[in-house]
């Protein structure tokens, strides 16, 4: 069980902000911290890893106290057992992939752990390569593998896939999910990517202006829980145009722009840039497999949501 309760005054470009975060993560649980950039998400991870100092609060990981302002405890990052995956990966350019992983070993005799994790993350063939010869996705995998080798008490992922293209993202999301399960690691993911959070995490907490807002399973938190729809997609409003008495919304869903019409009163309070759900009821969607050389019908769904 991981409990944290942290307070810190942040000086950001938009003025001062009080970061005030209380949360807990059960053993083996995958929790996401969602919020706009500048909300203090990364600072929470840095405080957990010991790279930033809270003004006050407490961090407790599986019975160990890492930080306690009241008791004057503040373990240095070296003694915290936090597996932090940096946004820029922070791989050591002077070491091979294997060297990067071996660097993370606490016990230098435990080389078999490096081999095990190289294998699990499909990096065996790249073991002798240097980071600057790897693709973005490969670097990301090495960064994750290195964090796993250090045998952390908690895995901290800082926007781990933000620099990757959508296809690579999906593949690595699966890989992160399977590694997290395999090693049973309590994990805190910081992200502003809804898709990532939906796919990976059991629970999500929203950080807005330094405070924890809504929390719960992603499906519930992002407003979908109360709809009795059959299909639901999340997207971002790109444009709202007026056409007679109706409004035409362009919504970006993944990489597709979808245009829908709506009555003005139905979209009250929705503006350009807002995250929205596009829901449709009682229809039979067609599902196609995207393949080179033309789309092929694989399945005609029966109209029921597979999640139901």
């Amino acid at each position: 069980m991981i409990r944290l309760s942290l307070r810190k005054k942040l000086h950001s470009a938009r003025g001062d902000m009080d970061l005030d975060v209380d949360m807990d993560i059960a053993a083996g649980e995958f929790v996401s911290l969602f919020g706009p950039s500048g909300a203090g998400k990364t600072t929470v991870l840095r405080m957990l890893a010991g790279l930033a100092k809270p003004d006050s609060g407490r961090i407790e990981v599986s019975g160990e106290t890492w930080y306690d302002s009241a008791a004057g405890i503040d373990l240095p990052p070296q003694r915290r057992r936090a597996g932090l995956v940096f946004q820029d990966y922070a791989l050591f350019p002077n070491m091979t992939v294997r060297g990067n992983l071996e660097f993370a070993l606490k016990d230098t005799r435990a080389k078999s752990r490096v081999d095990e994790i190289l294998e699990a993350t499909h990096l065996g063939q790249l073991a002798a390569r240097r980071p600057d010869t790897l693709s973005g996705g490969q670097k990301q995998r090495v960064a994750l593998a290195r964090a796993l080798v250090s045998d952390p008490g908690i895995l901290l992922l800082d926007e781990p896939l933000s620099a990757l293209d959508p296809e690579m993202r999906l593949r690595l999301q699966d890989e992160i999910a399977s590694m997290q399960k395999r090693f049973g690691l309590a994990t805190l993911l910081v992200s502003h990517d809804l898709g990532e959070i939906f796919r990976l995490s059991a629970r999500v907490r929203c950080l807005e202006e330094g405070k924890i807002g809504r929390q719960g399973p992603p499906g519930q938190v992002f407003g979908g829980g109360r709809l009795s729809n059959k299909i639901r997609l999340s997207g971002v409003v790109l444009e709202i145009k007026t056409a007679d008495v109706l409004r035409v919304l362009s919504i970006l869903i993944a990489n597709e722009v979808v245009r829908v019409t709506a009555l003005p009163r139905d979209i009250e309070g929705i503006g350009v840039g807002d995250k929205v759900f596009l829901a449709a009821k009682a229809f039979n969607p067609m599902v196609f497999k995207a393949e080179a050389g033309g789309d092929r019908v694989v399945l005609q769904a029966g109209g029921s949501d597979p999640k139901d």
Binding site: P76, Q78, G83, F86, F92, N94, F103, A104, R146, S150
Partner: protein
């Protein structure tokens, strides 16, 4: 061939080698610290370290000579407690060269430390490594171009110094008479042929050093 004394050349190379080695020892931790110091400390210190770039060597030499003199505080202290006099001695030359070549070692190193992503050191701390281990295994190995530039520039610059050496060392053969002083000395005595020899040797050495620096850096100066 006129009588030719190799001692000044040997002395020059010795002085440059010792100065460069000491500068490396001093400047690596100093540059590491300076690159992470807050701006209010960093700015004045960086300016102070860079002073020899703009200060006339004779000014530096003049103040060093006063400092070394047994008539004033620091020199008297050394004389009274250790019976050491630095003026007109080889150790005195080394101290002068250290100060004079300091910016040539410091500036590439500070720039190198600045250019290293902060997250590299942080990743090393999170993975359980101490500051010292991080410096030796992560920071320095990724600073090879900066280390090489600093070493070569400090060495070459020490080889060529004249004003400071003349002020604090004079031209005692075998002790403080380095090659650049020897050239001046030979010309003054109208022995142009041996002045040519010294000058040519310094020219070739300097050129070879720069060629090496550029050749190595062409392959090394790559952003990660």
């Amino acid at each position: 061939m006129p009588p030719f004394d190799f001692a000044p050349i040997r002395l020059t190379l010795e002085l440059a080698a010792i100065t460069t080695a000491l500068l490396l020892l001093v400047c690596i931790p100093f540059a590491w610290w300076l690159s992470r110091a807050p701006a209010r400390i960093r700015l004045p210190l960086h300016a102070l370290v860079s002073m020899p770039l703009v200060l006339p060597p004779s000014v530096l030499g003049f103040y060093l000579l006063l400092a070394f003199s047994p008539a004033y505080g620091p020199g008297r202290f050394l004389k009274d407690h250790f019976d050491v006099s630095l003026a007109f001695s080889f150790p005195g030359l080394v101290i002068g060269s250290l100060l004079f070549s300091l910016p040539f070692m410091m500036n590439p190193l500070v720039a190198g430390f600045d250019a290293l992503p902060k997250s590299l050191a942080e990743a090393s701390y999170v993975l359980g490594k101490s500051r010292w281990q991080t410096l030796l295994r992560v920071s320095l190995p990724n600073l090879k171009p900066a280390l090489l530039s600093g070493t070569v520039l400090a060495f070459a610059h020490t080889m060529g110094e004249f004003g400071v050496v003349l002020m604090i060392g004079g031209k005692i053969p075998g002790v403080t008479k380095v090659a650049s002083i020897a050239i001046f000395d030979e010309v003054e005595s109208l022995r142009f042929a041996s002045a040519h020899y010294y000058a040519l040797i310094l020219f070739v050495l300097s050129f070879a050093i720069l060629i090496t620096l550029f050749a190595v850096n062409r392959n090394r100066f790559k952003p990660f």
